[in-house]
């Protein structure tokens, strides 16, 4: 990745299986938890539907950030408009009421979208732990035309042979031991 002295790559250990088709990966993913492997991850060039269900990955919490931050942004926008127009320096503009609620709605909406949207992107990066230049790229083709299933080395009960054997029994085109 980025070969910089202060970005020491984090060691990654486990077994990676590569597949040619998303269906082969899905098949393997459906079996991998049954075989008792934990924290299994998949690497795909595009989002393959059904994969997170097969791997038992929880649904994302990002939409909650959008909702809460969107509402917060809207509330802040409206409060700010009311405070500046009616409290900090009340100015009579064309005989309109100090709290001209209908006139304040456009900016209330825009601030909700602005905060909600930017915070959604921020939450996405936070959730994925990005930017991250320390975790090694397991295979360059995983963003191209290969679909990978990765069983990480876990705990003292780890049995490398068993993981390799299981992955070989699937339709993997390649099974590699990763000792990064």
């Amino acid at each position: 990745m980025l070969e910089l002295p202060f970005l020491k790559p984090k060691p990654v250990r486990g077994i990676l299986a590569l597949y040619d088709s998303p269906d082969d990966l899905l098949n393997a993913a459906a079996l991998v938890t049954e075989h008792g492997f934990r924290n299994v991850d998949a690497y795909t060039p595009y989002p393959v539907h059904g994969l997170s269900e097969a791997l038992g990955i929880k649904k994302s919490w990002v939409p909650w950030v959008t909702l809460v931050m969107g509402l917060t942004g809207a509330a802040l926008g409206l409060t700010f408009e009311i405070w500046t127009s009616a409290i900090d320096w009340p100015i009579n503009v064309g005989g309109k009421p100090m709290v001209s609620l209908p006139a304040f709605i456009p900016i209330t909406f825009e601030s909700g979208v602005l905060i909600g949207g930017t915070m959604t992107l921020a939450a996405l990066l936070l959730a994925c732990g990005l930017p991250n230049f320390q975790v090694p790229i397991l295979d360059r083709d995983l963003t191209n035309d290969r679909f990978g299933l990765f069983i990480p080395e876990t705990g003292p009960a780890w049995n490398e042979e068993r993981a390799i054997q299981f992955l070989r029994s699937t339709k993997a085109v390649d099974v590699r031991v990763i000792r990064g």
């Binding site: 795909t44 006139a103 825009e110 992107l121 994925c128 320390q134």
Partner: protein
Amino acid sequence: MNETAIVNVTGEPLLINPNKTFADVNAEVSAPIERKPGRLWWVFFSISLLLTLQFAAEITYQIIKGVGIWGLNHPVGWAVDITSFVFWIGIGHAGTLISAILHLFRQRWRTAINRSAEAMTIFAVMTAGLFPLIHTGRPWFAYWLIPYPNWRYLWVNFRSPLVWDVFAVSTYLTISLCFWYTGLIPDFASLRDRSSGWKRGIYAVLSMGWRGSERHWQHYERAYMMLAGLSTPLVLSVHSIVSFDFATSILPGWHTTIFPPYFVAGAIFSGFAMVVTLLVILRKVFKMEEYITLHHLENMNKIILVTGMMVGYAYATEFFIALYSGNPFERFVFLNRAGGPFAWSYWIMVSCNVLVPQVFWFKRFRRSLVVMFIVSILVNVGMWFERFTIIVTSLHRDFLPPNWSYYKPTIFDFSVIVGSFGFFFMWFLLFCRFFPTISMAEVKQVLWNAKKTAGKVPASATEKIHA
């Protein structure tokens, strides 16, 4: 073209040739970035750079001399500047419509065109943003538009639609950038894994270390959906708020409640026309005919036809209400538009926006590159004149005849118009050169579906799992 014979469950032709492999997608979309640009690219780029340079020179001169160098006069205080502002903001709307609204409606054909349409949005909004700044005459005070604590203890007037505009346009630019960038992350990762040396470093930073982990995709897809959900009402709000700049005033011809939907329909109409113009060129210059197929272009032409008729309906309603209202000033403005000194502008607008798109009733024309290219350009000419008609004809003859005048553009008015096109195309050409113009990750998803429909892969293994 045997692949067009195969249709999917909804009876639509396949969006992509099922014989392609995933690796083909990466190779072909990245090709324009990886090879040196061709002569055609340099020709287009030089022209737009020259136009941009003269635009910069014009702006400099105008800042020194004042806005009087344009043809503005006493009643016509807004002309080419605000016309171009509304025009460019409108262009941007199609990008968001394609990327957000079509995503929510699960229109798969958007995948080949959304990236370039979103890029178009960003560059169009950037171009649009220049106009209010330069038209203030003293752009160095532009920060006064932002409510910030200052020694005068004065805030902006939140009851003014011009302030709403500042918030709407800046939010629109920010959110469009977020949305665009989110879509680009996986593709930057693909480019990183294809390249070496310093290029790899740049794409590594841009992709932020994306690896395509399923845990990340899970968040990614939901976040993308949320951004699409936010952009959808946002895009509708932006042109509505732009129309409030006019609708909240008391000027006949501006003071109408039809403006928000009428402006939004017009924006989508002109934006789609611009997308067609750009894509017809892009697919030819960068050899993307297999991704941006005639089917994609035909779909866009259908939207142009529909929105064109919406716009035509709005013209008719506006005219009818003006005559029916019994308000003499309102009636005068519309009769003056159609038969007054600016009648030429009104009839350019009607013929380009209402009559010309009617050719798209015929499948032959919807699928003809020459026809659609000409129509898309005419539509944009018409839409530019629509804004010109709305702004200038309403201003030039208001309530009192002693106030009346004509508006004559000067050479500087023409300079900003062509300059803005140069500026826009310069950014777009740079985008085509350095960024993937087609979303590789999304096209692969469509490709897999196409393969299944065409029976190119063994019957779904996933069905066995879910059964």
